[in-house]
Amino acid sequence: MFERRLYYHIDWALVIAILALCALGVTMIYSTTSDPTRGISRMYITQLYAIVIGLGAMLVMMTFDYRTFTDKSHLIYIGLCALLIYVLFLGQVQMGARRWIPLRAFNLQPSEFAKVGVALVLAKFYGENRGTPSWTDLAIGFVLTCIPLGLIAKEPDLGTAVTLVPVFLAVAYLAGMRMRILGMMFLALLLAAPIAWKFALKDYQKSRISTFLDPSQDAKGAGYQQIQARITVGSGGLSGKGFKQGTQGQLRFLPVAHNDFIFSVLAEEQGFAGVLVALGLYLFVILRALEAARLSKDRMGSYLVLGVLASFTFQVIYNVTMSAGLAPVKGLTLPLMSYGGSSMIATLAGFGLVLNVRMRRFTN
């Protein structure tokens, strides 16, 4: 349980950086959703609630030793898979996908929590093994990742599903997977791409990728968002257009500005200066968390931190790249800043585990 002395080992710098990003996010959500011509939106309030709940979840995740969670990780994992199956059949349909379980205050998105669940189960699995993971170990880890991945991809929510891949890769990498195998997997992925193109991807996904390669071929259709994202970011300039003064986000040339494209709006309204601050905060959070992985008293802690960090880092880099129109548009949110309760709570809970590992580095 929570001992008094542990309090002194809490990484306050990380907590403050995380809260700063949350505040930045709420500010940008307020800016993009409170356009008087569209009526005052309460989205930023909802986001504040999510942050409060998320901080609660973070506290819970810090209170118990992380080994308590890893010990129970198979149960958590099974529970999450059950939730994912439930969503698949009984979830709420929005924009053509079943992703949500409607709760009273907001809709719960189990796929966001699956990332933490997979991080826990992989940390436990590889943490109990010593030495370089064998082929069997890799295969088991892969299957453990693929079950929730497949369920999420089926919703369909390919974006979120893909974020589980870095979790597996990162943990396996840290656990000592040979670089040769990593190379082979990369090669296999490359070979599988055309097949996936032909059979697995849906038309809208294909068009997103093909227009990314040449946005002008469909400047008003699928390439529209990408071009608009670039215009949004580029027109921000060095110091930005000012709070609520952005034309691209405010006048809705950029869709879902409060969500997937929140970083574009930041870039437009706060300029390159704002971008540097936000990127700096994210980099600080990631490096600080890597520090926690290094300081961990056991391998399981390191794996757990890296598992949590992997999907987070992947999402941050991908979303920021996409925000500048430099990557195909995908429904991937920016953790800590984008509007979305489940993502916020799951991310903060995940960082609860990171803090947990760091503050218990001296305990046995």
Partner: protein, 619 residues
Amino acid sequence: MAPQVEDRRRVASRLSVLQYVITVLFSILAVSFWVLQVVEHAKFEEMAENNHQRTLPLRAPRGLMLDRNGKILVDNRGSYSISIVREHTKDLDRTIHMLAAVLGLDEATVRAIVDRHRREPTYRPITVVQDATLAQVAAVKARRLDFELPDIVVEQVPTRQYPETMAAHLFGYVGEVNDAQVASADAGELKSGDIVGQAGVEKVYNAYLMGEDGAKRVVVNSVGREIRTLEEDEPTEGKRLQLTIDYDVQRAIEEGFDQLGFNGAAVVLDPHDGEVLGFTSRPAYDPNAFASGLDRDTWASLTGDEDLPLSDRAIQGRYSPGSTFKMAVATAALQEGVITPDFKVHCTGGATFYGRPFKCWKKGGHGTVDLRHAIEQSCNVYFYTIGNMTGIDKIHKWATLLGLGEKSGIDLPNELQGIVPSPEWKQARFKEKWYAGETVSVSIGQGSVSVTPVSMAVYAATLANGGTRVRPHLLKAVDDGGGWKAVPTPPPLSRAPLDPEKLQAIRDGLYLVVNGAGTGHNAILKGYDVSGKTGTAQVISNQGKERAGKTEKDLRDNGWFVFFAPRDNPVIAGVVLLEHGVHGSNAALVAHHVMETYFAKKEGRPLPPKPEFKANLVP
């Protein structure tokens, strides 16, 4: 313990690798943003501005036209135009398809309009429907809200309106400027899509009438909804024109023609200065149809009509003047001293000149007549005789001085010149010698004489005012926003040195035509000493008429009536021509209604009601 230590080392080194990789990735991101936001900032800023700022044209209304008393003759009404702005088009084919369906138009028609403007800059709206119905506007607006037609603009534009269908050829019509007009205009003066005058006063005074379009820069959101106006450059309305036309005189002319149903023309002038009081050409068209964008079918029916409704008969129609030419012959004979007013000729119903018989219209003949009675009775033999005595050169000289065979110089486009023949003219035209026998025909206004109605009006005015060949004109004053400024009267084109006593003899004859035993009884107006002359000009020779049979409408004679009133110090002069109107006395019916209206208005009496006369169709 060994593997554990090894694990620890590996974890530490692999974490370091991740650290570096992530730091490098973030650096790349930062550089990318720097490139976009700092290096390429100007380009993207412009693109963002193009995104959310639109410049919308604000069409300037054309200047109003008023009659001489300030009554509005031509004005503007608010209408909606529907245009495509290709700059915001995703898929032009789809837009054309949808727009055609929404507007209930033929897709090929819409495509043809778009194709015509294909090479223009994409920000310039292509107007598909000029005068949209409210249903069309509503249909388009509903689709715009559904984001289906974000590239369609509904513009409120002033459209030319001609409240009453009158004087169509005088007002002319407006239409979209064509490429040749854009090319020939001074740089920047006209641009594609402008509405300009294409005929009549609208064309001649287009520079006055056309205002200066304004523009409005607005902020729009992603579906094209206007959020707010950044700046507005108000359009400048075109200058207002006061015409010399008198609304009531004009209406009287139109009523007269409506009542009789003939094609033809009429021009009524103030004989002192050539101000045009009324002007018509029939058949007419509805200029309103042009104002809202003429469709292909209407245009085809106008241009294909055998009656040529687009041609302005008053200035472009050339007709044989018949007996109305006799005053010109009389003037020549008197002024050249060939005869005196008392010169008498004995008419037996015909005479022989150069071995050829020439008939008088009255079979039994007029007996012995002097000039006054020869005009009154329109005795052909009298004029054969004096014409032959005077000779073609002198007839030509004086007819020209009176305004015949010349352009009147009226301020309307494309006026044609009539013909008053002379040996020189014949030589130049046919490379043939003039035969003296031709002079005999010319003396009664037949042969190669052909005149336009407007030149006949000038002729009437010249006889009325004592020899000054005034220049008919339509513009009285211009209001450029700072009040009315009178337009100076154009100077007369020539002055015929007419001896007042000799002219008085002719006027006496003209007075008798209406008030004596002549053919102009229909124009009699008690107390106003109306003077005039009918003319009945054959469209086809008597022999030809017999060959063709008498039933064909097109073969009926044209009827003229030239007039002025009162006889002494006339204040109104003019001409009425009825195509195939059978006889000049029918034209006098119209002239009567016009003069009755004119004098009633002048003296503040109630205007005469719409006339109910009928043409006498017995030749």
